[in-house]
């Protein structure tokens, strides 16, 4: 090169920029698993590595966007904390000392342990699977094994939300319903702790603001979504139910309820027997056919199921036997018109001015009864009546963990649904809409299996272990009322525990209560750390030994995880899982699919890259174990593995019932059936060709009133989504709850133990009510004056694998956030180190002051603090030294009253009451400042786990190659 040209290069600022570099060699579609939202992603592969991951623009969940966590998937996939070989514990539990073993030995060990259990007593296996998106497989496997001891993480997540919705609407917030985002004019969001769901809610809130719809956030903390709300109402934690019922009070006083809607779609007119002391008090008056009765205009009794019948909304009915009965609506009006629900009465409890409550009620009324929406789409209702348009009141609601994770969460969520129904906003234009495959009957079946007589050695369970109970007869208890599941779900302690109680598992197993188990088998839940209540005690229980024998009280623990999480160190046999980019999966209609308000859908994951370690997808391992154990559904009649290709084979070929399998799309030999059809061996190819998802778009006449829409109900029945095309009646009054209450009052053959009687009688109210969260009433309010709650940062939403080189730079140390005014009163300053005490213990944390938080509340980001030794992080990492978990302060039980203890849980569902926590804050002395507490000794790690790199230069080769290519 000539000198003159080089001189010009140097002094010219120009360089040759390659503006059209080769982006990728190949693009593969799959489903994200960085959190539970199931967004569609496109993974760009280049030179054998992952160039980048982006959202799939065609995907119905995320429509092309991706969140902060999803866009960090590369760092998860290549994490140095990945496990690389099966492990057998050699040291003490919790020491992190392992022998690396081959898969043959790992599988043989598991088969050895499990086959003995199955032959002797299948209940001795407890199989719990965390944030598992393959529950249609794992639950089925448990059923085949024959153990009732199966559940996933719902009990410590949001079962209050799910159960309250299922028993009321046959659907629920988040997964099974959402606001009519395109049409709603007033949206109220309760208690969303930056959680469920991620991208869909972001897209939706953005759309709301652009359209000028009003968005009110009711939340103790003003971050994230609340930051862009038109109005933030910083409610005191655990009082949302009272606020909602005060809105109901105001709307009833003003006669702003939609009686026409109530008549058509709800049980508002059904008569409730008023006969205190009798065995059917509070149940619906029914005719001989079992149909609920209503009071007709002439004062007679007729079936409430007749289309077109006229029924009184208030009035006294006399039943043939002379007893009194009144319509459900009358009970509602009488209860909520009571002055105790007046804004002035609830204002001091909720920390919201009465004027605000009254104004919000006014806005709801003005929108619902002055801004109605009519869509010119004709439809036919369940009774065959034609309607010329679809008509709705455009007020909508969403709620999540801030409502759910309280001991009054079930009834609070019921209160919200009551408000929605009274306004006539369920599945109408502008209201709240079901997401397919919902609605289902309220509640949907089936009932849980696992009663004595349904469990037998070497035999599958008589049905699925999780389900919906309708009366005490359905509980999983023995003749004396004792729990029959290790987590005590569906017992008198937690009767409507629809998702099980994973948070009680380790405690009960270690205490051999209600019976000893042999093997605890867990997947994808960090139960020795951030998924546990009372983490310090949980770690102790995991290592607790029987003094008589010297053996662990939980004899064996098998765990599958892709990463070196805290729980791995406490397991005996570790089955290393793959990352989400190395596996098959299905997001199934049999579990929690990706259906939307506009129709059903499901999706798959496909392997994007092959594992570079000696790891196997958990579901493949589970299917192999099933075959080796001879579980009937996993072997052919001659005993050979039924799904030799593992989960991939199972997804395409398994039939749960004739024509119904894990995936609903492209069924039938030709792939032309949807919903029901014979297995299609080429089904997965069709999914891959379509971007790894299937979506069926409902025609316009089926988009609303799905609970009463003839065409929808018939179509859903044909597709196998519901058992029959019957209308789904919204349950303002939930009769199954009253059946439990009657039992507690001494009626019926199945009676609660004395210790449970008063609790059942009090809380199983068939109409929603508000009560103070238990921890507040069972601890000294002076001693623990503040509420303490958590949120998940959006970029780390869902916490089962939260070590990520990029994300930990954004948040590597969590602080305890406190209102400035509160801090001033306590003599505390920004950055102070403080002791945080609850009835269950004390931790140390660093303060951060802010304005946008309820003054009675402190909060932090969850699951940032980690246990030293875990996640292949260096010993000086802030996650260990300065981060903290609130979990240490949250007991599974509460201090006793008169010698008893109570679960720190919702009394109806058993949902973990994380957000009931009450604390005291004191400044730590200078000598103890500068680090978080408690701090646990670091445990070891597997030998094959290489020290993490100091510098990550991800992409250096990808980019450089490109530039060199361009230069050449």
């Amino acid at each position: 090169m000539k000198l003159r040209e080089r001189w010009r290069d140097y002094w010219s600022p120009r360089e040759q920029v390659d503006t059209s570099p080769r982006v990728s060699d190949e693009v593969k579609y799959t489903t994200c698993y960085m959190c539970a939202c199931r967004c569609g992603i496109k993974v760009h592969l280049k030179d054998g590595g992952i160039r980048f991951i982006e959202g799939n623009p065609r995907h119905p969940v995320n429509r092309g966007v991706i969140c902060g966590k999803g866009a960090s998937g590369i760092m998860q996939h290549y994490s140095p904390a990945r496990l690389s070989k099966p492990l057998l514990r050699v040291g003490e539990r919790g020491a992190g000392e392992f022998r690396e073993i081959e898969w043959d030995e790992a599988i043989a060990t598991a088969v050895d342990w499990l086959s003995t259990i199955r032959t002797e007593d299948p209940r001795k296996l407890a199989f719990f699977t965390g944030r598992d998106q393959s529950q249609s497989l794992t639950g089925f496997w448990a059923t085949q094994f024959g153990t009732p001891n199966f559940a996933a993480h719902g009990g410590f997540c949001s079962v209050n939300m799910a159960a309250a919705g299922m028993y009321t609407l046959g659907g629920s917030f988040w997964e099974f319903g959402e606001p009519d985002w395109e049409r709603t004019k007033l949206f109220l969001m309760f208690g969303v702790a930056e959680d469920h769901d991620s991208n869909p809610i972001k897209l939706a809130l953005s759309g709301l603001r652009r359209r000028g719809a009003k968005f009110i956030s009711i939340n103790p903390v003003r971050t994230g979504y609340s930051a862009i709300a038109d109005e933030w109402i910083g409610i005191r934690p655990g009082t949302d139910g009272l606020f909602v019922l005060s809105l109901v009070h105001e709307l009833l006083r003003a006669d702003k309820v939609d009686l026409d809607y109530l008549g058509r779609y709800t049980n508002a007119a059904w008569l409730v027997i008023q006969a205190p002391g009798s065995a059917d008090d509070g149940l619906f008056a029914r005719n001989e056919a079992g149909e609920p009765l209503v009071l007709d205009s002439a004062g007679g009794l007729t079936s409430g199921l007749e289309p077109g019948g006229k029924a009184r909304v208030v009035g006294e009915a006399q039943l043939p036997d002379g007893r009194r009965a009144v319509p459900v609506f009358q009970l509602i009006a009488e209860r909520y018109l009571d002055p105790r629900y007046a804004p002035e009465a609830v204002a001091p409890v909720c920390g919201i001015p009465a004027e605000t409550i009254r104004r919000v009620a006014g806005e709801i009324a003005a929108t619902a009864f002055g801004q109605e929406i009519e869509i010119p789409v004709a439809w036919t209702d369940w009774a065959g009546r034609q309607h010329s348009s679809m008509w709705g009141r455009p007020v909508s609601f969403h709620a999540m963990r801030g409502i759910s994770a309280h001991s009054n969460g079930f009834q609070t969520c019921r209160a919200l649904h009551l408000l929605q129904i009274l306004l006539g906003t369920i599945d109408v234009p502008g209201g709240w809409r079901y997401k397919s495959p919902y609605p289902k009957p309220a509640p949907p079946g089936p009932k849980p299996a696992g009663k004595p007589g349904q469990v037998a050695p070497g035999t599958p369970l008589a049905g699925a272990p999780l389900g919906y109970v309708m009366s005490p007869e359905d509980l999983i208890v023995d003749g004396e009322g004792r729990p029959q599941r290790i987590d005590k779900a569906f017992s008198w302690e937690a009767p409507i525990a629809a998702h099980g109680l994973m948070h009680m598992l380790i405690r009960n197993a270690a205490n051999r209560d209600p019976y000893p188990i042999d093997t605890l088998f867990m997947y994808m839940a960090n139960m020795a750390w951030n998924s546990a209540m009372n983490t310090t005690e949980t770690m102790r229980l995991l290592t607790d030994k029987d003094p008589a024998t010297g053996e662990y009280k939980i004899p064996r623990i098998i765990y599958s995880d892709a990463f070196y999480s805290e729980t791995v160190a406490y397991a005996d046999l570790i089955l290393p899982d793959t990352t989400y980019l190395e596996r098959w999966d299905c997001i199934s209609l049999l579990d929690r699919p990706i259906g939307g308000t506009d129709g059903p859908g499901d999706s798959i994951r496909q392997p994007i890259v092959a594992p570079d370690r000696d790891v196997r997808p958990f579901q493949d391992v589970l299917i192999e174990l099933g075959a080796r154990l001879g579980l009937p559904a996993f072997v052919t009649p001659d005993g050979a593995p039924r799904y030799p290709g593992g989960y991939k084979d199972y997804i395409a070929l398994h039939e749960r019932s004739p024509g119904i399998g894990p995936l609903a799309g492209w069924r039938g030999a030709e792939g032309d059936a949807q919903g029901k059809g014979a297995p299609n061996p080429k089904q997965l190819d069709r999914y891959i060709a379509n971007g790894c998802f299937w979506k069926y778009e409902l025609p316009p006449e089926q988009l609303y009133f799905k609970h009463a829409n003839k065409a929808y109900l018939e179509g859903a029945t044909a597709m196998g989504l519901i058992p029959a095309p019957e209308p789904i009646v919204l349950q303002l009054y939930v009769e199954p709850l009253q059946r439990f209450r009657l039992a507690a009052q001494g009626h019926g053959p199945v009676q609660p133990p004395e210790k449970d009687r008063a609790r059942i009688a009090t809380y199983f109210d068939p109409l929603p009510f508000w009560y103070a969260p238990f921890e507040e009433t069972r601890t000294d309010p002076g001693g623990f004056p503040l509420h303490a709650i958590t949120q998940r940062p959006m970029q780390m939403y869902h916490s089962w694998h939260s070590q990520n080189a990029w994300l930990r730079q954004i948040l590597g140390q969590n602080r305890l956030f406190m209102n400035r005014v509160t801090a001033r009163a306590l003599g505390l300053a920004d950055d102070d180190w403080v002791f945080v005490s609850s009835h269950a213990g004390r931790i140390e944390a660093q303060l951060k002051l802010m304005d946008g938080v309820n003054p009675n509340t402190v909060w932090t980001w969850n699951a940032i603090g980690k246990r030293a030794g875990a996640w292949n992080l260096a010993a000086d990492s802030p996650e260990f030294t300065k981060g903290f978990l609130l979990n240490h302060l949250i007991g599974e039980t509460l201090p006793g009253r008169d010698g008893d203890t109570a679960l720190n849980a919702d009394p109806i569902t058993g949902q973990a009451a994380w957000y009931d926590l009450r604390v005291r804050i004191e400044k730590a002395p200078a000598a103890e400042a500068g680090h978080s507490a408690p701090h646990f000794a670091a445990f070891g790690h597997p030998r094959s786990m290489a020290p993490p790199p100091d510098i990550v230069r991800y992409g250096a080769r990808l980019g450089r190659d490109e530039q060199q290519d361009a230069a050449e």
Partner: protein
């Protein structure tokens, strides 16, 4: 020491418009930027002490969250910040080697790594803290406005946007020609009163921020109707004594 390109009216000036009314602080733009660019034109964007204390890395886009105002007017603001591709880019004029430069054809400010001597003068000159030093290679790096995406013929036309814009889940980010007063982004800025960041410093940043709208108690078509007035309308004297009476004659039809 390095010249800026000559300016003329209507000159193309590509940049970002960020709507603070929609940003929820989710960090999607930040991590998507990191993900694209660590394998892109300025690859890599290294991370130091990646798995220990003091982890820090090169990020072209960072989110700052803060509170402003008091009482009922107070709000939480999420503020994404990357290079603003200033018209009067001090990071360019301060550069002693010509490494830091502003492209005449589209206004993008870039660093020619082969000329950068890592003196960091540009990072001192930038009032926005938008420069990112790669201590591993000893060169300065920065937002390229995804110059390897926006013109990339290997991407579908709708994907030819900066990664941060393409991914944004609340659609709070926009990309376009702010030199053209008739462009969609310029019109958006005009309609919403888009602001320069720290205009008093005189660097004439290209990127614009749309201010958060004041908390809106009501939307225009939803004039508040105090429920007390509704009450007066709904309730007769008898209703007050026994509110159930008003529904006595109501019949529900299934």
């Amino acid at each position: 020491m390095t010249d800026l390109p000559a300016r003329y009216p209507g000159q193309t000036q590509l940049g970002l418009v960020i709507d603070l009314d929609l940003c929820v602080g989710c960090h999607a733009c930040a991590t998507a930027c990191k993900e694209w660019n660590t394998g892109g034109h300025m690859a890599p964007l290294p991370d130091f002490n990646a798995y220990g204390d003091g982890a820090w890395g090169v990020w072209f886009n960072r989110i700052h969250s803060f509170e402003e105002g008091e009482g009922d007017g107070a709000r939480t603001v999420h503020f994404p910040k990357s290079c603003l591709h200033c018209e009067d880019a001090a990071c360019v004029t301060v550069c002693p080697t010509g490494a830091s430069y502003k492209r005449a054809e589209d206004g993008i400010v870039l660093v020619n790594e082969s000329l950068c001597i890592g003196c960091k003068l540009c990072s001192w000159a930038c009032p926005y803290g938008a420069r990112e030093f790669d201590a591993d290679e000893g060169v300065m790096k920065k937002c390229t406005l995804c110059i390897d995406r926006i013109y990339n013929a290997n991407l579908a036309p709708e994907e030819r946007q900066p990664a941060c814009v393409f991914v944004c889940p609340t659609k709070a980010r926009f990309f376009g020609d702010l030199g053209d007063p008739n462009s969609a982004v310029s019109e958006l800025v005009a309609a919403r009163g888009g602001k320069d960041l720290m205009p008093e410093l005189g660097y004439r940043p290209t990127n614009k921020y749309l201010p958060p709208r004041r908390a809106r108690p009501y939307v225009d078509d939803l004039a508040p109707q105090p429920l007390t007035a509704l009450l007066a309308e709904a309730q007769s004297a008898a209703d007050v004594a026994n509110p159930l009476l008003r529904w006595v004659d109501r019949l529900l039809s299934r």
